[in-house]
């Protein structure tokens, strides 16, 4: 008998799946780190108008958000169908904006940003300008003059579809 046996047969060994968890974990950590959870739960419609002459807002900029738009269907029985302002996660009236602005500035943004904080107006496309004008007037009165109209990137012609 020969001592030198053929060790392997012609068959391929099965592909090792031991590295699969590692790969999946890598993907998992990637998505875990890039995920940002929405700050507020929107209670109003947030279908922004399109614009192409836009500037980016960095997440690290001092930003104070004001939402406005028609309430979602499930809140309509409580607050009606007219466009509303949402501050944090509550519906609010126009005269609450000033308090909200200073509260957010002091607690979240930092007082040193008093004159550089940007107020992002996240207003739904189907809102009347009257409400927007009211918000702007309130912001003017507290000297919060830097604003940003949030838009979606795209051809402005899409607004008329």
């Amino acid at each position: 008998m020969s001592k030198f046996k053929k060790k392997k047969s012609g068959e391929l060994p099965p592909v090792s799946t031991a590295a699969l968890p590692d790969i999946v974990f890598m993907l998992l950590f990637f998505f875990m780190t890039v995920t940002t959870f929405k700050k507020d739960d929107y209670k109003v419609a947030q279908d922004f108008p399109y614009a192409d002459q836009v500037q980016k807002l960095d997440k690290n900029d001092p930003i104070i958000y004001i939402y406005a738009g028609k309430p979602h269907e499930r809140y309509q029985s409580d607050v009606g169908t007219q466009a509303k302002i949402q501050l944090n996660d509550k519906f609010a009236s126009v005269d609450e904006i000033k308090d909200y602005w200073f509260n957010t500035l002091n607690n979240d943004v930092g007082q040193e940003f008093r004159y550089v904080a940007i107020t992002a107006l996240k207003v739904d496309g189907e809102t009347n300008m009257g409400l927007v004008a009211d918000i702007k007037q309130q912001l003017r009165e507290i000297n919060a003059l830097k604003i940003n109209y949030t838009t979606r990137k795209g051809e402005a012609g899409q607004n008329y579809k």
Binding site: Q53, E126, R140
Partner: protein, 205 residues
């Protein structure tokens, strides 16, 4: 003597668990970015001060009514033509600025009936309370577009690159500060040539 094999712990289900988590994060991830049109509101006028009177020819009035129709300089206009009209008005350069200097970089018609100098030219947007926000934003977009086109033209002439491109470089948090400062200086020069003067007048009914 045969050694008894210790069975390996089955790690096969680890992948499944990781997959579950992965799918959860995949679904909840939103690569959302805030983009928009920046604007500075006019400060409240101090009491007792009357606003300065602006010559009619230096004012480009855009009226938007509640049916979302445009009236530009007393003529009904389609939104498509607004950008060109605003450009012509800003680039006219028919007169001189406050210091009495004529506009050397303007390439407009030099019509004495239109704006004197980009420094003096003001665009006034007036809208109804019932105007749709979408329409208002489209108008704003076209007006900013007109400014950007003119600023790009000047930036190309002076620095051989677009103003809007410089703007996006400055907004990028990963760019070096020294590069940004240099660009900001250049942007100031161009902003000075065509200062953004869009007034959003209080709504009239």
């Amino acid at each position: 003597m045969g050694r008894r094999n210790i069975p390996e712990v089955n790690a096969g289900s680890m992948a499944d668990i990781a997959f579950l988590l992965l799918i959860f994060f995949l679904v909840t991830t939103t690569f959302q970015e805030d983009t928009g049109i920046n604007r500075k509101l006019p400060p409240m006028p101090p009491p007792g001060v009357t606003p300065p009177i602006i010559k009619q020819k230096n004012l480009f009035t855009v009226l938007v009514n509640k049916n979302n129709e445009l009236l530009v300089e007393e003529e009904i206009m389609d939104i498509k033509d607004l950008r060109k009209a605003a450009r012509e008005f800003l680039d006219n350069g028919g007169g001189t600025n406050e210091k009495g200097e004529p506009c050397t970089y303007c390439k407009g018609k030099k019509d004495p009936e239109s704006s004197d100098h980009p420094n003096k030219a003001i665009i006034s947007v007036r809208n109804d309370r019932e105007t749709n926000y979408k329409t208002f934003m489209s108008v704003q977009n076209e007006l900013v577009g007109a400014y950007n086109e003119l600023r790009n033209r000047e930036a190309q002439r002076l620095y051989q690159r677009d103003y809007t491109e410089m703007e996006s470089v400055v907004a990028d948090p990963q760019v070096d500060e020294s590069v940004k400062d240099d660009l900001k200086e250049k942007m100031e020069v161009i902003k000075d040539l065509f200062p953004l003067k869009i007034s959003e007048a209080e709504t009239n009914n």
